[in-house]
């Protein structure tokens, strides 16, 4: 049985449906992420789990028991707020002790567990500091320690890294992964940063306009996006407009207007004439001189329009015969050479038949 189940939950604010018929099951020990653009309903879902908001329809169950009607202070889960919401009049130790005190733990246990929690987030020497004396990253850690110290069944984190600068964010990401593994507490994490979601999560639910578009493990989301929105939202991707020309058991032939035929693999029963997009990650597109390997399948000629030299890789934008600009990411792995092609060079691109996926319109 899943630790937390969200069953057909809908939440309306006036005419706006902020959350639409969402169903999710989160397993114990999981690092689960709600990912989606601003306003898609992530915070609303988190607030309903925490008890600050109630669904208009549907149920939220913890360990199989509905949470309906249980006030936030009685739910065995804690939240780490984006603004941290540290108590400014309490020391770091006082903040971390707070959930233990409200739970009525004995004094020496509180002291011991506060010490442990602060050690876990490397803040032992800041125990007697006040929040206004801490840096952003340190406040973040206090908020984490406070949320974890009473061992909740579930820790909800609403964009906890949102207020940190890029470098600190990456550092905190590694710390979060480590921390979640060490304490073994289930995390429900909210973010609109897709890279962060990919890096941290065991599973990700991608949301749009109050709906869950796809819920999968990061690599599945990345390599097999369910639709255009997910494909486009996660990472960079080329979306080529196509129609199905022929589909046998596994082999799929797609017609790209003005370009030619694309060979792909697909297990779904597709009908000829179906329209959609062929989605292809830039790092799976190979770029080479226009005279090479003329007999390959999925080989198209074009011209380099733009390139960005990024050190480890070069990011090419190549205009194909039908005007479509395809993006390709090539590692600069050959020693002694930085770039392989220049702007304006005639080149050819190519990809394996299993590199991309067909997305139905």
């Amino acid at each position: 049985m899943a630790l937390l189940e969200i069953r057909n939950v809908t939440r309306r604010f006036g005419a706006l449906e902020a959350v639409k018929d969402v169903t999710l099951a989160i397993e114990a020990g999981e690092f689960f992420t709600l990912l989606g653009p601003s306003g898609c309903g992530k915070t609303t879902i988190l607030r309903m789990i925490a008890g600050f908001d109630e669904p208009d329809a549907g149920d939220i169950l913890l360990d199989g028991r509905p949470l309906t009607g249980i006030p936030p202070e009685q739910r065995p889960l804690h939240t780490v707020f984006q603004s941290y919401a540290l108590f400014p009049h309490m020391t770091v130790a006082g903040n971390v002790a707070f959930p233990l005190e409200t739970a009525g733990k004995p004094r020496d246990e509180i002291r011991r567990r506060v010490g442990e929690a602060l050690a876990l987030v490397y803040l032992t020497d800041k125990a007697e500091s006040f929040p206004h004396e801490l840096s952003g990253g340190q406040k973040q850690r206090v908020a984490l320690a406070r949320g974890l110290v009473n061992k909740p069944r579930l820790l909800l984190l609403d964009e906890p890294l949102g207020a940190l600068d890029a470098k600190l964010r990456v550092e905190m990401q590694s710390e979060l992964i480590q921390l979640q593994r060490d304490v073994g507490i289930t995390f429900v994490f909210v973010t609109h940063a897709q890279q962060e979601a990919l890096a941290l999560s065991h599973r990700i639910a991608v949301m749009k306009d109050g709906r869950v578009e796809q819920c999968d493990e990061p690599d599945t989301l990345y390599t097999q996006p369910a639709n255009r929105f997910v494909a486009d939202f996660i990472g960079k991707i080329n979306l080529i407009e196509v129609a199905v020309a022929a589909a046998s058991k596994v082999l799929l032939t797609l017609d790209a207007p003005g370009l030619g035929q694309i060979a792909a693999t697909d297990l779904r029963p597709l009908k000829a004439g179906e329209r959609g997009a062929f989605a292809l990650r830039p790092e799976l597109v190979r770029v080479f001189g226009h005279k090479e390997s003329a007999d390959l399948k999925n080989r198209f000629e074009g011209r380099v329009r733009e390139l960005l030299y990024l050190g480890d890789v070069t990011h090419y934008k190549i205009e194909l015969a039908n005007g479509f600009v395809i993006e390709a990411l090539m590692p600069n792995a050959a020693p002694g050479r930085a770039k392989f092609h220049e702007v304006g060079d005639p080149v050819a691109v190519c990809w394996r038949h299993d590199a991309g996926v067909f997305l139905r319109a």
């Binding site: 202070e73 707020f81 603004s83 400014p88 707070f98 409200t102 929040p131 206004h132």
Partner: protein, 277 residues
Amino acid sequence: MNAPGTRPTRWLVTAPPTLFLLVFFLLPALIVVLASLRQPGEFGGLAPLTGLADLGAEAYRFLLDDIVYAEIFARSFVVAGLTTLICIVLAYPLAWLIARSPQKRRDLLVLLVILPFASNFLVRIYAWIMLLGPANLLYTPAAVIVGMVYVHLPFMILPLYTNLEKHDPALLEAAQDLGASAWTRFWRVTFPLSLPGIFSGSALVFIPVLGMFAVPELLGGTGDILIGNLIKEQFLDNRDWPLGSALSILLTVLVLLLAGITAWAARRGLHGTEAVS
């Protein structure tokens, strides 16, 4: 080491307030101190000053010799303390409700709090005579407290409201999320964070009550006079200016002492609450 140029700049910034305090606080205070050391005039006021020999501490000696003055001081401080406490208890829920109401209604409610100032102070006290008379409370210590609380309540509500309005609602949600009941949330979060508001409100109530003479005079009995009445009597009725001045100086010194102790205690006990005050 001071960088060149900081000195004149600092002087420019600090000069106006220094000058203001000098002219409107220190100078009058010195005049009063001087008056307290001089002799009363034959027909009131002060006797002409002919030399240093005319100065003496008789007025202070007189005050300290008579236990009645100590009693009036003590009673005044009790009345001021009681008024402050009652004001805190009455103002807190009101300030909290105003701070919690929707933005549009808040301004209206604040306006209602200060609206009584639009009508004359004496008229409002006379209104209390009519209210307290039938209740058989007129000319009792209770009537004095009622009047004092009535007059000073807005000075407690406004600073408290200003403080409570700035509280981050996320803190209360965090406390609730971490298992705190409504009661715990109030005592562990709202109340400690509102202490700066309580302190400023208390200063604005406590100190004026000590000097207030109209309320005891109009609502209190003969035994209810406070320092304010005493000082007023020396200047207007007994025409003993040195004694009145000595009383004023004594009052000022006591209040400054009290304010100093409170500020010191507050600085030690209020760590972190500056963030919201």
